[in-house]
């Protein structure tokens, strides 16, 4: 049985490495977040390829998003997204009330300033997964109280 502990530890080690090697002054935060996001993107692409290999074709965009919220999230984070909202114009908000990668950090506002680093990889994961399902998007995350967080997916119309 493969365990989630190695992944969690690898993930925090990843952040540690990327943020430490970011060159000091020049807006290091932004750049390391981008790097993490890009790594997540690649991983998301790989994962979704393996995950969708036996699934039927998706009906529409909403169907794709549902797949992300249910199957993809369950595989990666052991639970479903708690709430999915959309304005039907290409913006989706995915809310996870107990996000795995934050749940061991704090249950409140402590360490809030570090949260973006811990979400960047996941934003990339989602963007990469969507991209390989033919949906181009921008994914951002926001946290107000840990360990809950919201991912906003903006679909880029072609």
């Amino acid at each position: 049985m493969a365990h989630e502990a190695p992944f969690q530890l690898l993930h925090s080690e990843l952040i540690h490495y990327i943020c430490k090697t970011a060159d000091g002054a020049d807006s290091e935060n932004g750049r390391s977040v981008t790097k993490l996001e890009n790594m997540g993107f690649r991983v998301g692409q790989g994962l979704i390829e393996r995950l969708t290999k036996d699934t039927a074709r998706f009906k529409d965009e909403l169907d794709v998003m549902k797949f992300i919220c249910k199957d993809f999230w369950t595989c990666v984070f052991k639970k479903q997204i708690d709430n999915l909202r959309t304005n039907h114009q290409g913006i989706y908000v995915l809310q996870d009330n107990k996000f795995l990668l934050l749940s061991h950090m704090s249950a409140g506002k402590q360490y809030l300033e570090h949260a973006p680093k811990y979400l960047a990889f996941t934003c990339g994961l989602v963007r990469g997964a969507l991209s390989n399902m033919g949906v181009k998007s921008i994914v951002t995350a926001e946290v107000s109280v840990m360990p809950a967080c919201k991912f906003q997916v903006m679909i880029q119309k072609l």
């Binding site: 190695p6 699934t55 990889f121």
Partner: protein, 195 residues
Amino acid sequence: MSRQSNRTTDSKKMNSELFTLTYGALVTQLCKDYENDEEVNKQLDKMVMVRLCFHSFPLLPRGYNIGVRLIEDFLARSSVGRCQDFRETADVIAKVAFKMYLGVTPSVTNWSPAGDEFSLILESNPLADFVELPDNHSTLVYSNLLCGALRGALEMVQMAVDVKFAQDTLRGDGVTEIRMKFIKRIEENLPAGDE
């Protein structure tokens, strides 16, 4: 709703694939950041090295690395007690720890006569599941993270051990072999004035 049924996937397997792919992304990034493989190997290993300083033990920063943290998780979950000798340690590593975290059980072989050295033979290496090494990375020890994790974890239970890859299927060997050599038992240093 009828489609829902055929969408079942093996989440345990997926999780290990997530780990494999994430690890791959990390190695790729390291290869971009560093010119030569030697340096990448070192970084992978270091990622899990212990910043060991018994005196400030309770004050160690939040950034514990993988081996150090994993041993805690492991001891808490597995109810394994203190090992009596190195042979028992080898068994626990192969049969309990590897099985729990990587889902494989390596075989323990090639004991040195003194019983202070052995090899773990991995039939398959989950870290390297989808990996092919390009020609220009012939000296990269792809899964070097494992060595650091083993060393870091064992240091936390007072064992100084030398760990390295002796063979690697990624580099054309028949099997993947991790060689472990017991160096010494680490004495517990109590902080001054705390008897």
